[in-house]
Amino acid sequence: MKYETVSLRDYVGKTLNKLYNERMYVLDGDLSGATRSAHFEKEHPDHFIELGISETSGVSIATGLAMEGQIPFYVNFAIFCTGSAWTQVRMACYAEANLKLLATHPGMDNGPDGASHHGNEDIALMRVLPNMRILVPQSPLQLEQAVQKALDTDGPCYIRVSRDAVPVLPEKDTPFGGVQVTAETGKDFAVVYEGTALMAARQGFDLLNENGRRGRMIQVQELKPFPDEALWESIRDVRAVVTVENHSVIGGLGGAVSEMLAARGTHPPLLRVGVPDVFTQSGPTAQVKARYGLSGEHVCQAVLAAL
């Protein structure tokens, strides 16, 4: 299957430029080329702060800017934003600081760099923090909506942005947040996914349809606060639910859906597609994802086994 694709990170700097206001700052940890925050640096050099390779101090400096009324976007790889500086992010959440984290290179999006650089734990690390919001767009329009939502929210936000290519779906002009049904052919199954796993979710959905199964694709746009009710209403009538995430199956989207379903008593069976409880390795990105549990084939097989 061939899809028209897009890499959202290419829109990071451009989107921040488009929504710029004079309280905004972008902070970098020597990766502005890779995260594309360089586009912001070019247009707003006075509001771009290069901090060198120092994630802990970088996040705390962003927090200090927020405490003086500014709106800082700390832009870095997912593992650095959330893992390298976790206690700094935690203190910003505790302080209810208006800190924005914008992460590229989530999950296995940079396959060749290997396990050290794969961000398979970031959702879990952010989801456990009180006051945090997690926004996961899947298209340039949704990225803009997510950044706008972060700007409109007084408090810490984490925006997870794909580096790997994701398919371009027809855009819906709906407000960003909660869940969105992005495709629907019937109610045998529901593919519930986060935006950076869109490729595997879409391929799995198409394979299932080729196999004569009919279902729904549901994007969870906000992983925190988790849209329990909206998601439940959109999956309660199907025969099997599969979560698809560019992340460990522990503590992320699959974990959140498990927690939601466990409180409902009778519910459809849940399959979790994503990285099992192992460290990954280097390889071409598509091959790494296929090896470590994230592909359309994994989605299709999981659902077929459950139906």
Binding site: I49, G52, S54, G64, L65, E68, T87, E96
Partner: protein, 268 residues
């Protein structure tokens, strides 16, 4: 405001610190008593709590927060009654500073090593918005073992933040023992100078020296300024001085009486 008046207020604040920790039967008296002379001086010379914007004071060594509460009590932000709620449920007086409960503490701290970076963010915001006030960050000498401090030290100098003033309360004792034996910092003023700071070392219990150093720090606009101050942990209470047991401890019974007598004698 002269040195004698500020020192007298600092001594009164010492009593407040001891009373708080006695009532709570928990807290960090040693590091609160070593920093209180400088903290009182900073507020009395450069912080108008009724103003906005104003100079900021980040207590990065957040465990010394009884000292900051004592100063806020001095200015009437905290009442006598509220001072008795330290470390109790629903109190604004958390065991470490919590700015969303009590905004006047300026920063939520407690996890050591993060405050200097917070100060850089505030200093950049003030510089860019034309706010001429200063940002003070107070660290402990054990705290500066933390790597984040040295990331921040490079960054503050790189951006030549003339409105940022770092105070290191070098009382020579951290939680488990003598700082130089736990992890030797060597000469902190020299290290900061090598990072591009203007830095000096003073006696942190000599109010004339404190005021003079603060004056030099505020006047220095070329970049960040560090005051490394040699202090005595537990300063003012005879049995606490240089005694690591009072890093974290309540103050009970006869020892409380002894502390009050020591401090009253100093006030006379």
């Amino acid at each position: 405001m002269n040195a004698k008046e500020i020192q007298a207020q600092a001594n009164r604040n010492r009593r407040v610190i001891v009373d708080m920790i006695h009532t709570a039967n928990a807290g960090h008296p040693g590091g609160s008593l070593s920093v209180i002379d400088m903290l009182t001086a900073i507020y009395m010379t450069d912080v108008n709590l009724k103003e906005s914007p104003r100079s900021r004071v980040i207590l990065s060594k957040g465990h010394a927060v009884p000292a900051q509460y004592a100063v806020l009590h001095q200015y009437g932000i905290l009442s006598d009654e509220e001072m008795k709620t330290l470390r109790q449920l629903d109190s604004r007086l958390q065991g470490h500073p919590c700015s969303h409960r009590l905004p006047q503490v300026d920063a939520t701290t407690g996890l050591l090593g993060q405050g200097l970076s917070l100060g850089i963010g505030m200093a950049i915001a003030k510089r860019d918005t034309g706010d001429r006030h200063n940002v003070y960050v107070i660290c402990g000498d054990g705290e500066v073992n933390e790597g984040q401090i040295w990331e921040a030290a490079a960054q503050a100098a790189h951006y030549r933040l003339g409105n940022l003033i770092l105070v290191i309360d070098q009382n020579g004792l951290s939680s488990s023992g003598v700082t130089s034996q736990v992890m030797n910092n060597r000469d902190l003023a020299e290290k900061l100078t090598a990072f591009g700071w203007q830095a000096e070392t003073i006696n942190g219990h000599d109010m004339d020296q404190i005021l003079a150093a603060l004056g030099r720090a505020r006047a220095w606009q070329e970049g960040p300024y560090a005051i490394v101050m040699n202090t005595v942990k537990g300063k003012g209470v005879s049995y606490m001085e240089n005694n690591v047991a009072y890093h974290s401890s309540g103050i009970a019974g006869d020892l409380y009486q002894q502390a009050i007598e020591d401090l009253e004698r100093a006030e006379q």
